[in-house]
């Protein structure tokens, strides 16, 4: 027993912690689920219009009429947040999906075949990583034009090297495992090996990583929105909403902090879920 780390928990304490963590994950799931549903059903929910503002009611605090107040042009914040949520969620899922698909495939090829394919693919990834990610995104979006699709693509491209790397690392370690060698010895054809032996074993690690990346994607979209590079106004985006009200920080801080809070809670929920998933699938993390 070489451990100096003194804070090891007694079983009773451990139960309490686990209960607390469970509650957090539960709340996170409820928030995300609720947000997704609300965002999808937004047009049918009878909300105030996110595009038309009441100029007599600008920068107001939350009230019965406007659940989360109004912005600088009198538009209902809650409605804008939900419509902006459509953008955020679409971009998040789309970009992570893209990164997973493209990056994952590249990583799989590099890890499985090794040698030249590996060097080539990883070489390109390394160079890509040399570009400050945000600048690459800015370049792509500003030249292709701001739209949900282009933002998704831009962020997706940034994710490719990360997914490629992690897929490659996992593939490399799986490649020399007995069940793969067994399949090869039995003469299984290549697609079968890749799809039925390696891919299912990659999934847990990749998926927990993907969940974390969802949060990062939302933050990235918000960052681009803040710079004015996400969807074009008057379509709402969370980052854009924060940027728009920045000037009113002194007089009406809530116009900035309410959208910021919304963004924060959403990403926090994703991170909590990601943590829980990671702990489930990553044996090493369980000991931490």
């Amino acid at each position: 027993m070489a451990s100096v780390a003194e804070g090891t928990q007694v079983p009773a304490e451990r139960r309490r912690t686990r209960a607390r963590v469970g509650a957090g994950v539960g709340l996170a799931t409820i928030w995300l689920g609720g947000l997704a549903v609300a965002a999808i059903l937004a047009p049918h929910l009878g909300l105030q219009s996110p595009y038309e503002g009441d100029l007599l009611e600008t920068l107001s605090m939350p009230s019965a009429d406007h659940l989360l107040g109004t912005d600088g042009l009198g538009r209902d914040t809650f409605a804008r947040l939900l419509y902006g949520g459509q953008v955020s969620l679409t971009v998040a899922i789309g970009s992570v999906g893209f990164g997973l698909l493209v990056g994952g495939s590249l990583g799989l090829i590099a890890g499985y075949f090794g040698a030249l394919a590996d060097r080539l693919i990883m070489g390109v990834m390394t160079v890509l990583l040399c570009f400050p990610a945000l600048i690459l995104a800015i370049a792509l979006v500003s030249s292709l034009g701001p739209s949900v699709g282009n933002v998704t693509l831009a962020i997706g491209v940034i994710f490719v090297p990360a997914f490629a790397r992690i897929t490659r690392a996992n593939t490399l370690s799986l490649r020399s495992r007995e069940f793969v060698l067994a399949a090869e010895a039995l003469g299984a054809r290549l697609p079968r090996i890749l799809l039925q032996e390696i891919l299912p074993n990659l999934m847990p690690a990749l998926l927990s990583y993907a969940v974390v990346m969802l949060g990062i994607a939302i933050l990235a979209e918000a960052a681009l929105g803040f710079l004015g590079l996400s969807v074009r106004p008057p379509q709402p985006s969370w980052g854009g909403m924060i940027a728009a009200e920045r000037g009113n920080l002194a007089d009406a801080p809530q116009a900035v902090f309410i959208p910021a809070g919304f963004l924060f809670v959403t990403v926090l929920a994703i991170n909590l879920l990601g943590e829980a998933l990671r702990r489930l699938f990553d044996i090493r993390a369980q000991t931490l």
């Binding site: 027993m1 451990s3 780390a5 003194e6 804070g7 090891t8 928990q9 007694v10 079983p11 451990r14």
Partner: protein, 325 residues
């Protein structure tokens, strides 16, 4: 009669784990006299390592439940607070461990690691430390001592690393050395050299030693007394010669016989002890060895045999092997 240097009384150590309460050490008592060596022998899981660490309280405080006393010259080490206890560690009572590669810090020089103890406990200045370190390295048989000072553990061989460990432990001339399987990880030839080294140190300074091992035969050359542990208890304790002449408790006998006999003919069977060590979370009310014992009776399963004194020997058994004629 000389007063014992160390007197352990009814020491018990339990750990709280997810699996339950582990009774690692149960009511262990023994005395250690100056200049003498006590060998504590047992299989893995017998509690000998936990016992060795318990003396200096090196076990994780939060999950460890301890009871009993560890008297070192009229001070109960078990009752001291951490700050006071630190004065004894590395100074009056030192410890060496099994694997010298992982026991030495890979990023610190030899000089640093030995010098630390000299600085901490003896308050030596830099040049004094250097001088003393070289002296120590030479005394443990390391040749070009001055060169070794600036080297790192990975640059030394296994035997040399263990010598460095010993030098580190001897730095403040401890009264007691606790050696936890110090030779297990080494080549046979090096093993001998290390044992000789330790023995010589004892003769020169009157240092007492607790020598933990799973190998009974290795212990023969170095120990004055042998204690056998099973299920966290001492089940037999006797002076070395008497022990090797005859055992009373069946387990200690089986342990000695289980060692492969290098002179046996080819194809001779190994005498293994059937069964497995007890689950320390669920110790039986009776003797823990009873399920595996060839001599056990019904009473063995029901009541714990106490340690009987018989001359210089103690043993705990309801149906012991016949005594020496």
């Amino acid at each position: 009669m000389t007063a014992p240097l160390l007197r352990v009384q009814d020491l018990s150590i339990r750990f709280q784990t997810p699996r339950g309460l582990v009774h690692a050490v149960n009511d262990v008592s023994f005395d250690l006299l100056p200049g003498k060596t006590l060998a504590i022998v047992g299989e893995s899981g017998s509690g000998k390592t936990v016992l060795s660490r318990a003396i200096l309280r090196l076990l994780p405080e939060k999950t460890t439940i301890r009871s009993g006393s560890v008297m070192f010259e009229n001070t109960d080490l078990a009752a001291l607070d951490e700050a006071a206890l630190r004065h004894y560690r590395g100074r009056d009572i030192a410890m060496i461990f099994q694997d010298p590669m992982s026991s030495l810090n890979p990023v610190l020089t030899i000089e640093r690691q030995i010098g630390e103890v000299l600085e901490l406990h003896l308050g030596l200045a830099a040049d004094e430390r250097r001088h003393r370190t070289i002296e120590l390295l030479r005394s443990v048989g390391i040749a070009a001592a001055e060169q070794r000072l600036k080297e790192y553990p990975h640059q030394l061989s296994g035997g040399m690393r263990q010598r460095v460990m010993i030098a580190m432990a001897l730095a403040c001339r401890p009264r007691i050395m606790i050696a936890d399987e110090p030779t297990t990880a080494l080549d046979v030839t090096i093993q001998m050299q290390i044992l000789v080294l330790l023995k010589r140190q004892q003769r020169e300074t009157g240092m007492a030693m607790i020598f933990i091992s799973h190998d009974l035969a290795a212990v023969g050359g170095i120990a004055d007394e042998v204690a056998v542990m099973y299920g966290g208890r001492f089940v037999e304790q006797a002076p070395t010669d008497a022990f090797f002449a005859a055992r009373r408790m069946p387990y200690s006998d089986a342990l000695l016989r289980a060692r492969p006999n290098s002179f046996a003919p080819r194809g001779a069977r190994l005498e293994a002890i059937p069964g497995r060590p007890p689950d320390l979370t669920m110790l039986p009310p009776g003797c823990s060895f009873a399920p595996r014992c060839t001599r056990s009776g019904d009473d063995c399963l029901v009541r714990q045999p106490p340690l009987n004194n018989e001359g210089d020997r103690r043993f705990a058994c309801w149906h012991p092997l016949p005594g020496a004629a």
